[in-house]
Amino acid sequence: MLFSTNRNWFWDPWEEFEQMRRGVWGDGARRSSEFPSVNTWVSSDDSVVTTEIPGVDPENIDISVTGRTVTLRGSRKADDIPEDLSFHRRERWSGDFSKAIELPFNIEAGKVSARFKDGVLYITLPRAEAEKPRKIEIKSS
C-alpha cells in the first residue's frame, strides 16, 4: 500500500513520505545510525535541520546543497595531550563526518542560512519558490 488513505485536505508530501517509509521499514528503522544525528523540522516556507556537533570549529563545517539534498561535512580533532599524561577514559568522538539529508522539496540554495551555538548547528533551508504551497482563493460567482 503506497498511498495513504487518510489523506488530509492539505496534502503534505513529507507526511506522505514518512508514512510510506513507516509502511516499508516499520517504525523502528526510522532512525539512521549515521553520525551526526539530525532532527528535521518543516513548515510551509522552509525546513530547519539541527544537529549536535560540540567542539567542532565552525570554520570546519561544510554545508552544501543540491536539489533536495543537504550534505554536512566536518571534522573534530582529538585533543593533543602531553606525552607524560595518560587517558583514563576516552569516550569522545573524533575524526571526519559526512552526512546527506534529503528533504521532501527542492531547496532554494541561495537562501540557506546556518547558525552554530553552544555546539548545536541550526540550518534553515527555504523551499524553492516554485514548490511553496499556494493558497487558492475561491471566487464566488
Binding site: 539512521s32 553520525f35 551526526p36 528535521t40 539541527t50 595518560s86 573524533s94 575524526g95
Partner: protein, 134 residues
C-alpha cells in the same frame, strides 16, 4: 579515524533506584575524556546546548558532579518530522581518588564542550621515592 565517528549515539541516563527525577525533561550522560597528569586531573565533556551559565559543577568530599541544563530551541511554527536525537539535561558523577584543591578548580565551556582542570592538593601529588641500590 573516520570509523571513530560511526555509531555514536547520545546515551540516556539510567534512573537509579529510589532517585527519580522531579523534572520531566530527559537526562543524558555526556561522553567524557579524562586525562591524569602529575599535578592535575583534566576532564572534557561533550554537552551540546550547554554554555558557561547553564553548567553546574559540584565537588562534595570526593564526588564530582557535572550538571548541564539545556533549554531546547524549538523552531516556531514548525513540525518535527524526523528525530534522530533527543534533547535534555546532562548529568554525570565521578568518584575522585585523589584529594583535589577545590580553590583552584578551573572550568570553561566552548562550543558545547566543558573543560575542567582539577588540581591535586599538595598532599596527594605523587612523590617520587628514590630507591637506593645497596
Amino acid at each position: 579515524m573516520e570509523t571513530a565517528t560511526k555509531d555514536i549515539k547520545k546515551k540516556e541516563s539510567e534512573v537509579k533506584e529510589g532517585a527519580e527525577r522531579t523534572r520531566s525533561k530527559k537526562l543524558y550522560t555526556p561522553a567524557v575524556d579524562i586525562v591524569e597528569g602529575k599535578d592535575s586531573l583534566y576532564l572534557v565533556a561533550d554537552m551540546p546546548g550547554v554554555n558557561e551559565d547553564s553548567v553546574d559543577i559540584t565537588l562534595e568530599k570526593n564526588i564530582l558532579t557535572i550538571y548541564g541544563t539545556v533549554e531546547p530551541e524549538i523552531p516556531e511554527n514548525h513540525r518535527l518530522v524526523s528525530s534522530e536525537y533527543g534533547i535534555g539535561d546532562y548529568q554525570r558523577t565521578f568518584t575522585l581518588s585523589d584529594e583535589i584543591d577545590r580553590e583552584k578548580i578551573e572550568a570553561s565551556v566552548k562550543n558545547g564542550v566543558l573543560r575542567l582542570t582539577l588540581p591535586k592538593a599538595e598532599a596527594a601529588k605523587t612523590r617520587k621515592i628514590p630507591v637506593k641500590a645497596q
